[in-house]
């Protein structure tokens, strides 16, 4: 990872940080805000490396000196990295953090504090952090990361320079995946499903995912042909494949994306189509359905997702969804 790489996805943030680094004008506290998978952690690591690296070129850390390597392995004594242990940041972690605030560095006076999911801090921890960032002493930096900035104390936000990390656009992610020699239909689908490049990569390399896509396409085909055996298909092959709640949730997302494609077709936004290799089938279905119908179907899928997350039996969720999509049952049920 280098600042150049980061600049491809987070141009503004990378520019702010590299400028600050080259001009020696780092702020004493940064708040990195953005969704999961937008590279917050990588940026924090990069900043620590640039902060400590002895032979950096401009802002770029060399990546192989002792300091860079130790930042990478988590062994740098002056990088205090706090991440929630399970659901929240534990009391012990907080007291360690408070202690670290009051000590000088191990190897030099330079120190960097990195707090992941800073919104999970207790009020007590947040206040001691506040005390620290209120009276900065030139050579320490605090980096807070959060996915929910509004849950942080205003007093903390107002004392940090805020770096907003934009979610990767679907196209950017798709291109990155295709560059890794993954088939475009799969790349596009997984990019539409998640904002996290790592997650997307995992989807693409997972055989289950490719099969899931096939299952969904077959399912839609049966629906379009108004086949009587849709439900049988559900019992026979669809449900066994999506055999737990999170998998089923992905399955429903895939169906939802299909309807979104139908909508794109109706609105003639051809660039947005995700199932690009299934244009024939999509066109056939688009001819048969009105825009209103597509909207209704989408809300059916959404309500199925809702029921699923309320722990309704997966089989019943699918049965009901099929009946609704076939037009047999009204949405109000």
């Amino acid at each position: 990872m280098s600042w150049k790489e980061l600049a491809q996805t987070q141009a503004t943030a990378a520019r702010i940080l590299t400028n600050a680094l080259t001009q020696g004008q780092l702020a004493h506290a940064y708040l990195i805000e953005g969704q999961k998978g937008t590279g917050k952690r990588k940026a924090a690591k990069l900043l620590s490396q640039s902060f400590f690296c002895q032979n950096k070129e401009g802002a770029e850390p060399c990546g192989h000196c002792r300091d860079c390597r130790r930042v990478n392995s988590g062994n740098h004594p002056d990088v205090v990295w706090v991440k929630p242990d399970g659901q929240s940041i534990k009391k012990e972690q907080v007291s360690n953090l408070i202690k670290e605030f009051s000590y000088r560095g191990v190897e030099s006076r330079r120190k960097i504090f990195i707090i992941e999911q800073a919104d999970h801090m207790t009020i007590q921890a947040a206040n001691s952090l506040l005390k620290f960032i209120e009276e900065p002493n030139g050579e320490t930096i605090a980096v807070l990361m959060t996915e929910q900035m509004q849950q942080l104390l205003d007093t903390i936000i107002s004392r940090c320079q805020i770096l907003t990390f934009r979610p990767l656009s679907r196209q950017q992610m798709e291109e990155q995946l295709v560059a890794k020699e993954l088939p475009r239909p799969l790349a596009r689908l997984s990019a539409a499903l998640t904002n996290d490049i790592e997650d997307a990569l995992e989807y693409c390399s997972n055989e289950w995912f490719a099969e899931a896509r096939q299952k969904v396409i077959q399912f839609m085909e049966e629906l379009i042909n108004q086949s009587q055996s849709v439900l049988l298909k559900i019992y026979g092959s669809f449900s066994p494949h999506f055999d737990d709640q999170s998998k089923m949730d992905i399955g429903l997302d895939l169906i939802l994306l299909w309807y979104k494609d139908l909508m794109s077709l109706h609105l003639e936004r051809m660039d947005d189509i995700i199932y690009i290799d299934q244009l024939d089938l999509l066109n056939r279905q688009a001819l048969k359905s009105s825009l209103q119908q597509v909207t209704d179907d989408m809300s059916s899928v959404l309500s199925a997702k809702k029921r699923l997350s309320a722990h309704v039996n997966q089989q019943s969720v699918m049965e009901q969804l099929v009946l609704m999509l076939q037009g047999g049952v009204s949405n109000e049920l």
Partner: protein, 393 residues
């Protein structure tokens, strides 16, 4: 065994030495005092072993304090170490210390290869341990010969004992959990306070002519640790080196590093009253014992407060607990000068202070019932204790 023999062909030897088991165990025991199992930095679960041309250095650390133990090649005509190839390795501290203690023979051979696999052999037993990269281990400050401050071991231990008890235990003002050291003109001033009481000690040290250090705040915890590992009976001197982030104490074959506290230590000079209205000279031991007795009832109350009153030629110490009863005791004073006085103070703070004083008599100087008062041993200007009274009368 065969397995490693095969693999060794692709790897090169990174370190090899043999060492007296007793010396190794002794060294490991020293450095283990600094190793904590609850560290957030993975490499610090290990002990760093460095084989240099002049001997073996072991290092343990929990990042707050670090201890280095040095085992020379030979000492008093006895050979302890023989180095075949200098190098270093980091080994899991817990396992390594358990292993070396139980090894069968008097000598231990340790060798590491470039893949960090470490072979420990002694007698007929052989351990192969996975080591960690020594490059990952924190760098500790190096000793620079020019800025060394020298102090006698027993004096250093005294000085720690006489100040560190007064540090704050609360985290609300972290800088007060340390002892503030200032060095100027060959004089070392140490001050500790928790804002209810203060202890200060000045001693002469050997230092370079113009060596001046200000606001060196050493965590009380570290000083306690240091005091424990310093050898009581050695008449040797300890060298002190101060860097921007750490302080290093070097005794014979042992180095103790502590991180410093950040932040400005408050100016304590202006807390110390210059004038006094009532001056008392009293026997340290007699006064301490009387306070101790009065505190038997006082400590049942939450605040552990005793009352103190001057009479002619003696002082009265009293305390009461509504549930238990009262205690009165008169103690003969050597000398009482100035105004009459009634004052209350924490028995614990008074006992803490008195028990750190070695002189026979102490002088207590009061400036009124609501003002802090000073305790000084008679005949030693280096020590000064200050206690804030409690409002009860």
């Amino acid at each position: 065994m065969q397995d490693t023999a095969d693999q060794n062909q692709e790897t090169s030897l990174a370190m090899k030495f043999s060492i007296s088991k007793d010396k190794l165990v002794e060294g490991v025991n020293h450095v283990m005092k600094a190793v904590s199992s609850r560290t957030t930095i993975p490499i610090l679960t290990g002990i760093k072993i460095n084989a240099g041309l002049d001997g073996i250095t072991l290092t343990g650390s929990d990042s707050d304090v670090s201890i280095k133990a040095y085992i020379p090649l030979e000492e008093d005509d006895e050979e302890y170490v023989s180095i075949e190839k200098p190098g270093s390795i980091v080994l899991q501290a817990r396992v390594f210390s358990d292993i070396v203690k139980k090894l069968p023979s008097d000598t231990v051979n340790i060798e590491a290869d470039s893949r960090l696999i470490t072979r420990i052999t002694s007698g007929s037993s052989e351990f192969n341990l996975n080591g960690l990269d020594p490059e990952e281990y924190p760098r500790l400050p190096q000793i620079e010969e020019e800025n060394i401050i020298t102090i006698k071991t027993d004096l250093l231990k005294h000085l720690i004992r006489q100040t560190v008890f007064a540090v704050s235990t609360s985290e609300t003002r972290p800088v007060l959990t340390g002892v503030n050291w200032n060095i100027q003109n060959g004089k070392l001033d140490c001050v500790a306070t928790d804002s209810h009481r203060l202890a200060s000690r000045s001693v002469a040290v050997e230092s370079a002519e113009n060596a001046t250090y200000r606001n060196i705040v050493i965590p009380g915890k570290s000083l306690n640790e240091l005091s424990k590992i310093l050898d009581d009976n050695s008449g040797e001197a300890v060298s002190i080196v101060i860097t921007e982030s750490q302080i290093l104490f070097k005794a014979k074959n042992l180095q103790f590093f502590s991180r410093l506290l950040d932040g400005n230590y408050p100016d304590t000079d202006r807390l110390i009253p210059n004038e006094s209205k009532t001056d008392i000279v009293i026997s340290t031991k007699g006064f301490l014992q009387a306070i101790d007795r009065a505190s038997l009832l006082a400590k049942e109350e939450r605040n552990n407060v005793v009352k103190f009153r001057t009479l002619s030629g003696e002082v009265e110490i009293s305390s009461q607990s509504p549930e238990l009863g009262r205690v009165f005791e008169n103690v003969q004073a050597e000398e009482i000068k100035g105004e009459e006085l009634k004052i209350s103070f924490s028995a614990k703070y008074m006992m803490d202070a008195l028990s750190k004083v070695d002189s026979q008599d102490i002088r207590i100087s009061f400036t009124g019932a609501m003002r802090p008062f000073l305790i000084r041993p008679v005949g030693d200007d280096g020590i000064l204790m200050l206690i804030l009274p409690v409002r009860t009368y």
